[in-house]
């Protein structure tokens, strides 16, 4: 039997130096993102607080439609070639609200409501300025695929605001006013390519 004097050596070993080995700082965010991508969490209250969230997006859509109608009237007064549903005098830009760790950690209902209210005010301001075309909430990814099969996204869009702006600089100037930035989120500005 390979018994190496267990009784003489049975005193506990001091392993306390290993307590210094802390997990990588971004591990929590990655684990949570992987679980989120697999639908293991209920939708964040910020988006699920349906009444308030619906106001944001419905208002955005309604105003956007009205704004589009005005634009259409302009076009009928001065005919332009119809290129697509988003064709217009000014280019369209997608402002994609991207997840950030602080945003994802917003679980306190009161804080979530405050964030929704801030987004709602932002949407109304954009609409009033004639900038907002449409706003939509995006759910967690249903699937993320790569050539190797399922992949795990580290971040994904939470919402999309389609706005009109003459150029990228103007679109970015709109994006920096998003309250999403105040909570650790990011806003990605992408042009809508006309066809």
């Amino acid at each position: 039997m390979n018994d190496i004097e267990p009784h003489r050596d049975s005193a506990p070993t001091d392993l306390s130096a290993l307590l210094e080995d802390a997990p990588p700082p971004d591990q929590e965010a990655r684990v949570r993102a992987a679980l989120r991508a697999r639908g293991k969490f209920a939708a964040p209250r910020a988006w699920r607080a349906a009444a308030a969230a619906a106001v944001v997006f419905a208002a955005g859509i309604a105003v956007g439609v009205a704004w589009e109608r005005d634009r259409a009237a302009d076009r009928s007064a001065s005919p332009r070639p119809i290129e697509s549903g988003l064709a217009g005098a000014e280019p369209a830009w997608a402002l994609v609200l991207v997840d950030g760790p602080d945003w994802a950690a917003a679980a306190d209902p009161a804080e979530a409501d405050r964030r929704v209210a801030a987004l709602s005010r932002w949407a109304r301001r954009l609409a009033a300025a004639g900038r907002l075309v449409i706003a939509e909430e995006l759910g967690p990814p249903a699937a993320t695929l790569s050539a190797e099969g399922q992949a795990t996204p580290e971040t994904f869009g939470l919402g999309i605001f389609l706005v009109r702006a003459p150029d990228a600089e103007a679109a970015a100037a709109i994006a920096v006013t998003s309250p999403h930035l105040d909570h650790g989120g990011r806003v990605v500005v992408q042009p809508v390519v006309p066809h």
Partner: protein, 186 residues
Amino acid sequence: MSEDGTLVSRYLRSRREADFTELYRRCAPALWRLALRLARGRQAEADDLVGETWLRAVRRLDSFRTDARLGPWLAGIAWNCWRERARRAGREVAGVEHADAGSLDPPRHAEALDLRAALDSLPEGYRAVLLLHDLEGYTHAEIALALDISPGTSKSQLSRGRAVLRRLLEGPAAQRSLRAQGRQIR
């Protein structure tokens, strides 16, 4: 119901990310320490192991006994994930009960090893039991459940693991004696 059980039940009811986060933060340090030592200090491998453990744990969370502690339960999942990875990679996987000084990965250092290097040179079974008992403070009953062994095996492997570790930390003379013992039993 244990404190962990209460948190698990709350997450299962709400599925809120914040409730999961509370569970995660409670267990993350110990799970990381186990993963890091199973992976012999290779951070990327330990990181993958932690991720896989949590994915599997959340899928099975409704089978967690709410009077138990979550740490040992997660350790068991991590241990199984680790062994499955080893099998997939074609590495030899010895059960805890088969760990002995004969399967010691012989240290090549001329001097006494530091704690991490000494631990990493131990057979996996010794390493896991030592960490879970002497560092994390889990009971033999909890370790037995986690590693799918008997409490008696947990006790004997702890005792042997401590002995081997101590000699590795003592220096070359003790290491030579240890290797000699390892050769005798082969």
